[in-house]
Amino acid sequence: MKRTIQDAVYVNPRPERAGDGERSPGTMDADDERGHALITFESVTKRYPGGTVAVDDLNLEIPDGQTMVLVGPSGCGKTTTLRMINRLIDPSEGRILLDGRDVAQTEASQLRRGIGYVIQQSGLFPHRTIEDNIATVPLLNGWPKARARNRARELMDLVGLDPAMTRRYPYQLSGGQQQRVGVARALAADPPVLLMDEPFSAVDPIVRASLQDELIRLQAELHKTVVLVTHDVEEAIKVGDQVAVFYPHGKIAQIDRPEHLLGSPVDDYVENFLGFDRGIRRLGFFPASGLDLETETVLSEDATIEKARQAAKRAGESWVLVTDEHRLPRGWAALSELETRDGQETLRHLTQAPYGHTFRVGQDSLRAALDATILSPTGLAVGVDDQGRAVGITSYERLRAAIQAAEETADGQGARPS
């Protein structure tokens, strides 16, 4: 029956970034520091006894306050790279600088208490309550128990955990909740750096998507330097400010912003790795607000058929959108039908085709608009505002113009050097 705005297929998880690929201005006091590398790999090689080279002469700069995703097939060295940052693994050659200081110079357990770490299976301590799990690092740092537990409760609130879980044990929580606890635990001592090793791969796809959204929300609030390892390229593109794609044997193929990665992969390997519909996925980074929407053919059901006929002809459209008095969409009326009817009747009594999926003009991406257009029986899709009221109509032609304009803007900015 009637579709609500929640039915819109693609909800861009990060609409504020969709515009120019940057975070919304004004929210970051660290703005000037962007680009300053917090973690630097200098010619790092990890060779295992027996000659296996896990990481091969890696040079990598991870900018402060951004999410860097390391993605690649298993065995490509991405996890090894991550674990060298907090010295769970020591490099064979080269060095890793954290805020200008060689990590090898800090005692390992001391270093690790200053770096948040989230692992795949959550790795919660089964014998500790949720609050004590979260309070782990503050307690290790010698905080009094009461203060550490207060901090734990703050973090539960931050990651969206019900306070009723405070005294429960990990086995009493679902996988998704456990993973939230894992994130809260990693953030407890407010470390500037957060390492995440395949953090969402052990949960089902729906929970995974909500955890990814949660990470994006948290990151918009906290601006940690996040290094996340995944084998899931969709995840990389969704959560990463920067994505580093690894070749199978410990070398990086390309480091880029996700939209540039999708737009211009450096070679066949990266292109294959990204998957076949990268062009369409890239549209997820362009906002639907760039569309020039047709507004003239949006008519109230109280309007006369004569008026609708004229509007359709002026606009050169073969359908008009009929709305109720609040501009909520009701359905499509065909021009062919309008022409057979008495011009003085109102649109209310016409047979209408269902209006299909809508997209939110202010929040969704061109990808959502395109999807709604493809799914629509008329080849036209309705752009709505936050209340679901019709703003205007898009067509394939209008989409093509908007995509072209977005591409030109993106090219104007210039692809970032890797």
Partner: protein, 230 residues
């Protein structure tokens, strides 16, 4: 029944001795087994020789040990306590090792990544998680020890075992049955207390069944066969 009542002072005396002879070895065994187990997990190369050693302890006939030890410790309680301690070790060390190894790798890894030092990790994370497996071993060791003490009567130090020899010599079965029942009650009581101890120490296990590790089964099997052998 009237015999038991008339001799309650004597029974109580031997009961106390029995308990003391049975439990001290388990206590000593635990004190030694925990650090040795930790060492075996931490320095893997130490585990195969120690495993062989525990098997030898396990196989050693107590009677032979009594005879050897008598030259050094004489007719004292130590002559019984030392062999029983070795027996406890043969059960407890493998259990401590298995308990520590049963800690899921992600948990150990998370502990490292959180910045636990390696000793702190063992004490605060691995040992608490090993408690269910260690207590399973303790139950076997304790029950076996309570049953094995009687053998000490061969050199005159055997707790309630006194009544077995005495009953046979005097051809008076009541005495034997009474002591036997007391030993069984002691064993059941000790076992129950250990189960309660485990529940108290591991509230996080409350909602789920303790996973039966292969070694617990092995230990149970070894323990019961030892009991039978006596």
């Amino acid at each position: 029944m009237s015999w038991a009542w008339d001799n309650r002072a004597l029974l109580a005396h031997y009961l106390v001795q029995h308990l003391y002879l049975a439990l001290l070895p388990v206590l000593f065994g635990t004190i030694v087994a925990v650090p040795v187990g930790i060492m075996c997990v931490r320095y893997r190369w130490t585990w195969p020789p120690i495993l062989s050693l525990t098997s030898i302890f396990y196989a050693l006939p107590s009677i032979a040990l009594f005879v050897v030890l008598i030259d050094y410790t004489g007719l004292t309680d130590w002559t019984v306590i030392i062999p029983l301690t070795l027996f406890s070790l043969s059960v407890l060390i493998p259990n401590v090792v298995d308990g520590l190894r049963s800690v899921p790798p992600p948990v150990r890894q998370a502990a490292d990544a959180m910045g636990f030092g390696s000793l702190r990790r063992v004490i605060r994370v691995e040992l608490p998680l090993a408690v269910p497996v260690i207590i399973a071993g303790l139950r076997v060791a304790t029950v076996s020890s309570i049953s094995l003490v009687s053998v000490g009567q061969l050199i005159g130090i055997g707790g309630l075992g006194y009544f077995f020899i005495d009953g046979v010599q005097r051809d008076f079965p009541t005495e034997i049955y009474t002591a036997l029942i007391l030993i069984l009650i002691l064993a059941l009581l000790a076992d129950t207390l250990l189960v309660l101890l485990r529940r108290w120490l591991t509230p996080w296990e409350a909602g789920r069944r303790v996973r039966p590790g292969s070694r617990i089964l092995t230990a149970t099997w070894r323990g019961s066969s030892a009991g039978d052998a006596v």
